[in-house]
Symmetry: C2
Subunit: 222 residues, 2 copies
């Protein structure tokens, strides 16, 4: 379902330039999609009236929309529907050690998407995007699960944003020290960071003859 689109570029706006050193920003939709797809977790920001709130939640993408879900009754799901929110996904790829404190940095890939959340109201579409969420992480799992009950479907709100206003920001590579600092006798470089899956932990209630599916073994090998 992670269909990559053509080399579409999003239109830059004042919002999409926030925090972006010009040389690090991009409006390339494929690049934004790749960053969104590389983690199941985003941070969603919205206004409560008293302050801004930033909540971690799971997200997923189907085509040119990014989705998240939650309890229909949760304040986050209710409050965030009526305003322009920001969904940000960041991968911390490394720590960058320079010859001065000032030039220390981080390597990362980050995507921000702005927009007014839309409720996925149609039941068939809601079921399809929830299936896409599970299948995007664990291909083949959805059809093996106990199907959602009406009560579970009613208790869940699915929201989405179109990938229309947003940007990507990426830093990679070695430290960018001042030329006159390069010869100093200081170790400089990058400590790369990656997210690794460890050995799967079976639920104690699993029937004795149930073994980990291929997608679980793959996750733990990658």
């Amino acid at each position: 379902m992670h269909t990559q689109t053509s080399t579409k570029e999003l239109t830059p706006t004042a919002l999409t330039k926030l925090g972006r050193a010009p040389q690090r920003g991009s409006f390339d939709l494929d690049k934004i999609c790749a960053i969104l797809d590389a983690s199941p977790m985003c941070h969603l920001g919205y206004q409560t009236g008293e302050a801004t709130a930033v909540i971690p939640t799971c997200h997923w993408r189907v085509g040119d929309r990014v989705y998240w879900h939650g309890s229909r009754l949760s304040r986050t799901m209710q409050t965030s529907q009526a305003q322009k929110v920001c969904l940000t996904v960041t991968h911390l790829d490394g720590l960058v050690l320079a010859r001065s404190g000032f030039h220390h940095s981080a390597n990362y890939r980050s995507a921000m998407v702005f927009g007014y959340p839309e409720v996925v109201a149609d039941r068939a579409n809601k079921l399809a995007v929830l299936e896409a969420f599970i299948e995007g992480l664990f291909p083949g799992r959805w059809q093996t699960l106990r199907p959602p009950s009406q009560k579970e479907m009613n208790a869940t709100t699915v929201l989405s944003l179109p990938l229309e206003e947003g940007s990507a920001k990426v830093r990679s590579g070695p430290p960018a020290d001042l030329a006159q600092d390069l010869a100093l006798p200081i170790w400089a470089g990058v400590i790369p960071l990656t997210v690794q899956a460890a050995a799967a932990q079976p639920c104690p209630h699993n029937p004795a003859d149930v073994t980990p599916p291929e997608y679980v073994r793959q996750f733990c090998l990658d």
Copy 2:
């Protein structure tokens, strides 16, 4: 500098209960500090006037305050100073595979801190907290670096929040399926996720006789 305080509890407010299933929330300061300290990266949320923005940035803690920094001229640093912001740190600890789509979940540790950012204006204090940032990640490194210039200090704004209004939320353990689903022939369990450091990548400009310091080797062993 990561001095743990006593068993202080923050006062719950409406904001600190956002998104928190009651059984997962905590106002224990030590727990909040441990979550803040376990990553150098947070997501900072603030209001731009047009929308909420969520920006990844590095943070660090000294005692009962959390700090971040950035270019004095950046719109993020300027806009976020005059309002109540939210700084959130989340560790995605695992994917939780249940017998129904509805009960799939994520294991995670998350801390949110709310407040009005305060500028670290005093030069000696600013230098001390910047030192604490580097030393918290790389003990012993600060004194080996080329010291900050006046120009670099002037170009950098350091902001902080007191750890007064905030909360932690943690989910851990196996899936929480319905009792009647436990006997289904479906593999359920947890895929644990961790952040790992790979072999350090020396900067090509390093003098030939400069070897990685102990703290770099430690990072890559942990």
